[in-house]
């Protein structure tokens, strides 16, 4: 979690984002797997943890030099992490989260430090990548139910001129609501869809992970520091 509010997503912030996501996944791995029990195959936490640990290892190995290093761009950092997730996760969430990060990285291009509008465009690209790959729509009880409103909330905040960390916090909040919205839904994609109507009544594990991902982004951008400052200013 960044102690200061950041005005842009640079490579260091991107790395902090990924480390924060990895830490959240490690902490919540059991919960994620439990969510995957009634509607899936009880491996979502294990899967994502395998992937995020590999991302951490790559960040550590790269040091300050490679794509993950201080010299890299945020686009490179996210792209490399995306490829690692695709390679290592082993479940549906691997290609999906991996594609999200790769698309975000690609959308950021060569910019050394992305502003709110650029991050918004990157998140939109991530969502589009997930939808193109998995073909889920909002309402199918998948991670898209969290990611879609999160991207919309981020864009709205950015358009209204909110500072980057606050846009990220809005996205995280929308992701949480979106994840909760999956409970009454019948799953129409992924393993949960094998259950048909019996998939109703459960929170989708991948939607919860998306919430963790966006919360980690808000934290890495120092949304809390911003809120604290706003609190002081009031």
């Amino acid at each position: 979690m960044s102690a200061v509010a950041r005005e842009a997503l640079d490579a260091a912030a991107a790395r902090e984002w990924l480390r924060g996501f990895a830490a959240a996944v490690a902490e919540r791995s059991g919960e994620l797997t439990d969510l995957d029990r009634p509607v899936g195959d009880s491996d979502h936490g294990v899967n994502l943890r395998r992937g995020t640990e590999a991302v951490l290892a790559a960040l550590d190995a790269d040091g300050a030099g490679g794509a993950g290093g201080a010299d890299g761009t945020p686009g490179q950092v996210l792209g490399a992490a995306g490829r690692t997730l695709v390679s290592t996760v082993g479940g549906a969430s691997g290609p999906l989260f991996g594609t999200a990060l790769r698309r975000a990285g690609k959308a950021l291009g060569e910019v050394p430090a992305a502003d709110a509008a650029q991050v918004a465009a990157a998140l939109r690209a991530a969502l589009e990548g997930v939808v193109r790959l998995g073909e889920a729509r909002v309402g199918d009880a998948t991670m898209v139910d969290a990611l879609d409103p999160a991207v919309a909330a981020f864009e709205r905040a950015a358009q209204e001129g909110a500072p980057l960390p606050r846009a990220a916090r809005a996205a995280a909040g929308a992701a949480a609501e979106g994840a909760a919205s999956t409970v009454p839904l019948v799953a129409r994609k992924g393993r949960a869809s094998y259950l048909g109507p019996r998939s109703r009544g459960h929170l989708d594990p991948g939607a919860r992970s998306v919430e963790l991902l966006l919360t980690a982004l808000a934290d890495a951008l120092g949304a809390d520091a911003l809120d604290a400052r706003a609190g002081e200013g009031a």
Partner: protein, 134 residues
């Protein structure tokens, strides 16, 4: 003459991939045509994009075209995510097959063993979808 066709069988289970490969190789009269890719790197149930890449790459490097058969939905995602990274030239030489895993693999193997081209191998495997057994 069209390029020879190799099959890559991607399953969440190493045993399922190996077993189906064994059946397919038997009807195709040769194991060199079929590669099994199953399980995660740490031996669990899951699909490994790296192992998929390695198997496909080996076939492409030999000059063969590749038909990829997958077991469950998330294997489709793994395969599609990997395909999305290929350049056009290679992309044209790899096809993801929309067929039942075992039945499609056997049909594809039989067809490939006759020297048929990739499109024909894929078409025959996809015929296996919907075939009745009883």
């Amino acid at each position: 003459m069209s390029a020879p066709v190799r099959l890559v069988l991607l399953s969440h289970s190493a045993a399922a991939a190996a077993g189906v490969a064994e059946l397919a190789a038997q009807v195709a009269g040769g194991a060199q045509r079929v590669r099994a890719v199953g399980g995660t790197a740490d031996g669990g149930l899951g699909t490994s994009a790296d192992a998929l890449e390695e198997a496909c790459r080996a076939a492409l490097d030999e000059g063969a075209d590749v038909a990829v058969l997958v077991d469950l939905g998330s294997a489709v995602l793994t395969a599609k995510a990997w395909l999305a990274e290929l350049e056009d030239e290679e992309l044209a030489r790899v096809r993801l097959v929309d067929a039942p895993f075992l039945e499609g693999a056997v049909a594809a193997a039989v067809t490939a063993s006759t020297g048929a081209a990739l499109a024909e191998v894929v078409a025959q495997a996809e015929v296996a979808r919907g075939l009745r057994k009883l």
